[in-house]
């Protein structure tokens, strides 16, 4: 008697037209998309500053002091007669450089520490995590200020300070992810089959770590930009007359009543940049988190 095989009915996913899928995607992540466009525009403008700037950002023209916004100077001029638009365009370079570099370095270093702590566990885990806890106990901006105060002001020291203040965040995150992942059945199975630790880490753990790390990195990018701006505002970062948003706001605060356009434009660009990075982070979280993906 021939065996009768029972076929399981397959549910066919409804095939949507690409425009429909795009519309759903746009509707779901509209804020993040707009923020992404803005942030990319800011990056492009910053990178293309030498091409886009109408004037040399450091050129002082005393006759042009405190020009209000006009066609010749869309963002006006400052107390040295320098074009504010040109300085805003160049001014993002230091902040974005510091932001991206510090997040990348802290992600790599902090991630490695978290990975080692979680995988090896025991005393290694205890020592590494207690050190991270100590660093985490300081507010990040305060820690960055303390480090710069010890090392001295300057762009490179500001970068070190911001990176150091963010390493524990990534170390803690990666550790918590890895600790839960190593208990998963597919990892236990790989271990049982004799897979070496580095293969397990590379093939099974690392890919599953990426989504939360990307979300965290985007959130930390906003923090890094904010901290970098704060350090420059406090005079602990780049040195005048280097164009920099934080420094421009710091210099411009005394002009708030007499030439409000001087601090206004760099201030608004900082706000837009940090907000757009935060919204991008929210969108990434919604997209990458399976619990949130179906919502909205």
């Amino acid at each position: 008697m021939p065996s009768s095989s029972t076929s399981i009915p397959q549910l066919k996913r409804p095939q949507r037209h690409i425009s429909t899928r795009l519309a759903i995607w746009v509707r779901r992540y509209n804020i993040a998309l707009v923020a992404g466009c803005i942030f990319i525009s800011i990056i492009i403008c910053t990178l293309a500053a030498p091409l886009l700037s109408p004037y040399d950002p450091s050129e002082m023209v005393l006759m042009n002091r405190f020009q209000p916004p006009s066609l010749a100077h869309p963002f006006g001029t400052d107390d040295f007669g320098r074009d504010v638009l040109s300085r805003v365009l160049y001014g993002g370079r230091t902040i974005l450089l510091t932001g991206f570099s510090s997040v990348t370095i802290s992600l790599v270093v902090g991630g490695s520490i978290g990975l080692v702590a979680a995988y090896w566990g025991g005393l290694t885990d205890d020592i590494l995590m207690r050190v991270m806890d100590i660093v985490l106990s300081f507010p990040s901006v305060l820690l960055a200020i303390l480090i710069v105060a010890a090392l001295g002001p300057g762009l490179s020291n500001a970068l070190i300070a911001i990176t150091a203040s963010m390493i524990p965040v990534f170390a803690r995150l990666v550790r918590s992810i890895v600790v839960s992942l190593v208990q998963e059945e597919y990892v236990l199975a790989a271990r049982a089959l004799g897979a070496p630790p580095n293969r397990i880490l590379a093939a099974h753990i690392l890919p599953n770590m990426l989504p939360p790390m990307i979300v965290q990195a985007s959130a930390m990018l906003a923090v890094a930009i904010g901290t970098s701006t704060a350090l420059n505002f406090l005079g602990l970062g780049v040195e005048p007359p280097t164009p920099d948003w934080g420094l421009m706001v710091s210099d411009g605060q005394r002009l708030i009543f007499d030439a409000p356009h001087v601090p206004f434009f760099p201030g608004i660009v900082i706000t837009i940049t940090v907000l757009s990075v935060n919204f991008i982070g929210d969108g990434l979280r919604d997209h990458l988190d399976p619990k949130l993906r179906g919502l909205g």
Partner: protein
Amino acid sequence: MINHYHPSRYYQGRCLLLTVGVAITFFLGTVQAQQQGGTLLFAAESMGDTLETGLWAGFGSIHVSDNIGEGLIRSNFTDGEPEPALAELWTVSEDGLTYTFTIRSGVTFHDGTPLDADAVVRSLTRMSNEADPSYLPGLYMEPSHGATNWESITALDGNTVEIVLTQPDSTQLHKLSRPSAYIVSPTALDEFGTDIGTNWVGAGPFKLERFVPGQEAVLTAFDDYWAGRPYLDSVIIRGYPDEASILAGLEAGEINFTMYAPFLSTSRLQASADVNVDIGGPLVNTFIGASANQEPTSNLDIRRAVNYAINREAVTIVGLNGLAETPASILCSADLGYDASGQTISSYNPDLAQEFLAASGYELPVAVTLSYENNRFWPQVAELVKADLEAVGFSVTLEPLDSGTFWGKAADGTLQLSLNQRSIFLPDPNDRATILHSVISAGGQTWHQLLPMASEMDALLDQGLAEQDPTVRADIYAQVQALALEDFPYTYLGCLTPPVFTSSNVSSVPVQAAAAGRVVLREVWLE
């Protein structure tokens, strides 16, 4: 009898009545105008941690000291003459060495302790008297009131003090008006000891009600002040973190008196009905100090290059908002003996600067560090100086510092190039030029004791002090100015004419004294 109407008589009568009426109104108005009462808020750039006059703790502390303290003498910044204060009379011997002061009788300190000659002697010598309970190692202000030139100071009787000088000093009377010479209550010195800096008890027009180090001091009128109770009931002298806060407070009517609003806002505030702006005389010299103790500024050609690299016009327009006169040398145009010919040397000549830089033997760019206090107009001036220096071949690292750190580094002699100012605390050219004296002002920003001019400069300055004849003194100070431009310990940026900002209800503003950094509020009143 018919009384005929006579127009002229009628008008004469009316005019007489009107005149009498106006006179009465004016008299009453005057009496009413000088109103007692009210609280004046004075905004300072910062507030020090102590009111100890043996130390420099910043202008905030000085403003408090100037109102709670008083010395034997006051300096009049308008006519440049010394005036009686706690000493009602004095005589000077013919050789200019012996000063005899008659202490004002019936004066008491804020704690009720009577003022006498012993209190004066103790107060003027306590900083170097290790036996005094208020003695602290490192109190260094005694030379500023001339004590290092005193052979003796003696209480001849209860009301007479005699000071015998080693060398004649034509500024000795003015020097007794400096805060370090303010007389402090002996009872308070015994009670508070080394904590006297936060519990100061003087004999000035106001008494210290509360002092919060680093923040503010609250003063109240001293009812028993020897010259009569001041008009104001109380004064708050508060340190503000930045100029923008001061400006906002001034425009909101919260702040009544300050010299620390942004210079940039001067024009706008002058047009305001709520704020009065008075421009003081050229009382503050601004400059770059170059240390003879540090490479590469120990090299004369480097210092010359710095001098010629600076565009003073830009510094005046941008950094000082036009509130400065063209500099010549160590003195400004209001000083006795001022010589304008120095303007040709204190001038912008980048080609010459490059020549001197090349002659210095240093490889270009020559790296230097420019330090400055990170407040008021200094950051803008620093940025301009950096641009000018880099344009001729320097590589400049800016070092913005808080006041304490800046003065700490100045005391350690570790500054290389530094921005600074010399406010004329006494109306005498010596007060400005004394920073060139290699013994009185050794080390500091410039280490000018290491310069070739040091001994010649010391001799000139000593001569200027000893000389009583103004004409001869003027000639001496002309030589001082010329000599100061040979070794270039300083590059002069401009003689500041500081604005004094007051709310429109403040009357009797001591403009010249305030512009010099000496604000005494005893005659100020609020409408």
